[in-house]
Symmetry: C2
Subunit: 417 residues, 2 copies
């Protein structure tokens, strides 16, 4: 049977590498002889509203492909949409499959994290139940690095590189300032449940930098009093202390640290309960208890969008994994996700395999306890050996007039409206 | 008379370019035959405690010099110290001059902003009064770009480049997300009185990016109601709105926007009045009034420390201005600061001149009213024509194991303690 068409979507929080995977899917689909390669706008949610594009109008040549690899955020737009349970709402599935049939789709590739793999799982299940020939394959993506069964996820390496670089710059900045009672900088890093990103703060450490003074992952309970004592001790030895904390750190009883700051009448001028950030809370605590100067820094969206400092390994692997997902679908796999299997740390060697998405969707992979020190205040050398290969090499931005250029075609922003 | 020694210090908030000026001072002092080139640790404050280093132990070869140019924060450590009025406290001056005489100093170079130029002014005044031969020359530095009499200041270009790049990445990120009631991102940028940095958010604008939707500088009074209406209107036309605001925006009566959020009983868990950030306040306002999703991003220290994305023009000019300050002192100038004089925007041409520091110290240069649109919500093309040349070109970081390398010598961090 002649090959027909492919559709690809992006879902969940963006990364600096997610568009490289899109480029990889596109390239392999072209090479393998598919006619049309469609892109869903805002994932499966947009698809259900009939929103999609013909990717050949967006990736017209090699330069477009290179620009796409360097473009942050989800080029196709993203969504956070969970499909209903099949037995509860067949209509939704019928609707999606009807659209896919109208578009003559053979392969459906979805680039995303845990929740997005739930979409692949459900669609492939429904396809199986109804005898559809469409293959559904997932392509991993998340800065959180928390997908099961894979050594790591595309997007993590670039975020880790950005975090290591920025933490190192902040350490220098802090050390250069003179503060009478000492300065504590608390850096808040993404990752509500998994500490992979926060642990990457240790990448700042090197021959020219002592690295952060402490790192707190969300996998371990956070003891506010022990934290305070630790900082007090550190301030006796040095003038500037830098600490990295996950946004998701919580006390032993499960209360998020960012919730601790709220007394019952802690409302803003609009009468709403207001949640300060974790770092802000800890800074208020420290300056109040220890009398030191304390500043909070949130890396916020920057850590997932900073294409300008992407990791070459990450961008190339993201491209590779996109191609591998397309290849798998082309060769008949469905209900699968591409994973990384690392065979060596040094020299770094890593290949791809195909795994059952049912074992991946909605699962979470956390930092192992033995990759954090006894005290729970820093990652071990095993952690660094693991992450170091993923941040190697650069992808020079294509600079136009002093600013990195991203892929753009006329009317692009209107597509995402 | 044979040339003796030079001493150089850094003061005020660091920038990505301040160490390039230090390298420039060192190189020119060497070339002009000075014996020792000392660096004050933590500026004049450290000097008074006898803290200084012999820079030849830190800049030993060409590679050290290149690393220094790429090292963020103040390599020598900084201070925020204002010298007393001469007539009120001669002792302080006698103490400093005694140290300078002991070190056989001919030239005193200070790299800093408005407050640091006050130090040059007072020391040169005192030198004049007492018939000292020591020459005191200032080398401009500040990301705020608010020094008088100079076209711009070293450090500003790199910060502006980082801001333009990051705002562009955030705009992509926002546009890619799907939000039912729209998403507003408020980015808070440094510059309490001067809007040069905030205006640089407009650099995100280009053929591939619409740029931020509004920009609010601290030079103009901020009207909260008009802001709310503007955002409401913007949300009707698009799903993602991105706004850049200065940390220093304030209402017509002078109240900072970040102070507006505080009702009288707005205290944190420690019973302290807490000042939320400007962006956080505005986000709470918008989500509460308009029902949209709103996220606050503070570029914080990152915007002044991001050496990894420095502007080549900025780093080279910072080097040049360090050399020019040293040259001026060598040739007998005192009580002076080096300034930039731009002779052409396109092609960009800019030279240095020497100006009287009395006309610069404690003065502030603001964004002209006619470089902001009538409504007060965006910078004009004149602003962009001005800033664009300053962000051109890159300084490739020297990468070691995936992270930029900075200059480091054994015991370095102990020096700054």
């Amino acid at each position: 049977m002649a090959k027909r068409n492919v559709i690809v979507g992006q879902s969940g929080g963006p990364t600096a590498a997610i568009n490289s995977s899109l480029a990889g899917v596109y390239r392999t689909a072209r090479e393998r002889g598919y006619k049309k390669i469609y892109g869903m706008i805002h994932g499966v949610q947009g698809l259900m509203e009939g929103k999609y594009i013909d990717l050949s109008e967006h990736i017209q040549n090699g330069l477009d492909e290179e620009l796409l690899k360097r473009t942050p955020a989800s080029y196709l737009g993203s969504c956070r949409y969970k499909l209903p349970e099949i037995h509860k709402d067949k209509e939704t599935y019928d609707k999606i499959f009807k659209i896919l049939e109208e578009l003559e789709i053979d392969c459906f590739i979805y680039i995303g994290g845990n929740d997005s793999m739930d979409t692949i799982k459900k669609l492939s299940d429904y396809g199986m139940l109804t005898g559809s020939d469409i293959r559904f394959v997932g392509c991993p993506k998340t800065i959180d690095n928390d997908l099961a069964l894979t050594d790591h996820t595309p997007g993590y390496g670039s975020a880790a590189k950005y975090i290591g670089t920025s933490v190192k710059e902040v350490i220098r900045d802090g050390a250069s300032m003179k503060n009478k009672n000492g300065l504590v900088t608390v850096i808040e890093i993404m990752g509500r449940d998994a500490g992979w990103l926060t642990g990457a703060a240790a990448l700042a450490e090197g021959e020219d930098c002592p690295g952060p003074d402490a790192i707190y992952l969300p996998e371990l309970p956070f003891d506010v009093e022990a934290f305070e004592k630790k900082i007090e001790m550190l301030l006796k030895a040095k003038n500037s202390v830098v600490v990295a904390v996950s946004e998701g750190i919580h006390t032993a009883d499960g209360t998020y640290v960012c919730e601790l700051g709220m007394s019952s009448d802690f409302v803003d001028a609009f009468g709403h309960k207001q949640l300060s950030g974790t770092a802000t809370y800890l800074c208020n605590l420290l300056s109040s208890k220890l009398g030191c100067k304390a500043r909070a820094i949130e890396f916020s969206t920057l850590q997932r969008a900073a294409s300008h400092s992407a990791s070459r390994v990450d961008i190339l692997e993201a491209y590779e994994v996109g191609g591998a997902a397309m290849k798998a679908a082309d060769e008949g796999d469905t209900g699968k996700m591409v994973v990384f299997v690392r065979t060596s740390d040094d020299p770094y060697q890593c290949g791809t395999e195909i795994k059952d998405v049912h074992k991946i969707a909605n699962e979470e992979r956390l930092v192992p306890r033995n990759w954090v020190n006894e005290e729970g205040t820093y990652v071990t050398s095993e952690f660094l050996t693991y992450v170091r290969p993923l941040i190697q090499g650069d992808v020079s931005p294509i600079m136009v007039d002093g600013i990195p250029r991203h892929l753009y075609k006329p009317g692009y922003y209107d597509l995402l409206k």
